[in-house]
């Protein structure tokens, strides 16, 4: 077993993103792309423009997060009266009707998880940009956490989809999707892409440089 710590990059090797085959890195071939000898995927020692791309996606998602929370997710009409509900007013409704567990689930998935993802990704980006060598293992954990939890924010989108399918009782009651749904879905998709475009190996590069 190898005990000295050496990354593939420092050994002049490259690991394929898709099939994990380790092959020799031919060096920068004048802008031409290098393909994996086994699966044909384009090879990169590190994800290209990882930091800039992740920043752009995080900022875009933060902008969409505002209308996603401010605008109504659902518009309910019952017996002639209409009511518009945002994510937060939905959470408050559940607290008042006594289902605090559901309120907690929605608050966590829709408001807290996207917010947490912003904080973690910004922290990871800054820590890589300032070449931090502190607690790399914990930062990897944080990265894995953002990868795992992001999808759960889709919850509210699905709830709206199910509600508008079920509640179609003509004049008695009707639920329609509000303007926030599209912003909210964008936040979820963009933060997932942001987590995907961040390269966790950058965290270890700074640690190796220091050693």
């Amino acid at each position: 077993m190898k005990t000295s710590y050496a990354s593939a990059k420092s050994l002049g090797l490259v690991s394929c993103h898709d099939c994990h085959l380790l092959s020799r890195w031919p060096g920068s071939s004048g802008g031409r792309s290098v393909q994996c000898p086994r699966c044909g995927a384009e090879l990169h020692q590190r994800k290209p423009n990882s930091i800039v791309r992740t920043w752009a996606l995080v900022i875009a998602a933060m902008i969409f997060y505002i209308p996603a929370n401010a605008l109504p997710m659902t518009v309910t009409s019952a017996l002639g009266a209409t009511q518009a509900d945002t994510i937060l007013s939905g959470v408050i409704y559940f607290i008042h009707s006594g289902s605090w567990e559901i309120a907690l689930v929605i608050f966590t998935a829709s408001i807290f998880v996207p917010f947490l993802k912003f904080i973690i990704l910004i922290y990871l980006l800054l820590s890589v940009q300032f070449k931090s060598i502190k607690r790399p293992k914990d930062r990897i954990r944080l990265y894995q956490l953002t990868e795992a939890i992001g999808r759960w924010s889709m919850l509210d989108i699905y709830v709206v989809t199910i509600l508008i399918a079920l509640v179609k009782l003509g004049i008695l009651a009707d639920i329609e999707a509000g303007p926030a749904v599209i912003y909210f879905a964008s936040v979820v998709v963009i933060t997932m892409l942001a987590a995907e475009s961040f390269d966790p190996r950058l965290i270890w590069d700074a640690v190796e440089e220091e050693a």
Partner: protein, 200 residues
Amino acid sequence: MHQIACHECDLVQSIPPMPARAAARCVRCGAVLFRSKPNSIDRTLAWTIAGLVLYVVAVTFPFLAMKSGSIIRETGLLTGIRQLFDQGIIPLATLVLLTCVLIPLLQMLGLLYIFVPLKMKIRSQPFAIPVFRLFRHLKPWSMMEIYMLGILVAIVKLGKMATIVPGLAVFAFGLLIFVLTFALSSVDSHLVWEYLEKKR
């Protein structure tokens, strides 16, 4: 012994021959590098075929029904998606259709496409390599378990004004979540890549 680089931290290390049901972790960052899976081919195929049967039931049978007084409204898995289309929110309708209906189906069809030739020990299909690469990128976008939680929330929300009756399709859908998870976790991608490499 074969050498790989950790996908999380890029550390180069060797993986020794592994006993059944063991996992190899990166010595530096602890990420799981490799998991040995007994009977990978048979298990994957069995779970995938079971999954496809459940899928057909989940898409075709009644999903949820709402009963309020004398009015009953029956819906299928696709009803809400069609409503979003009708309301003109097409990107969102597409997103829900992809994440809860099409991507799970593509995952299962992709597994069949790769594993049937593997089981029969015949030449792999054309495009097997791009299909398997795509398959590995689909996983985070398959979100049936989140949809299931959405059903629970919707039931609680409507509980005051109506009775929600779950249909056969909901149970099939719920089972499918587990079956698809088992199918995906029995895929030994190392084995698949070795096979695809030889057959090229």
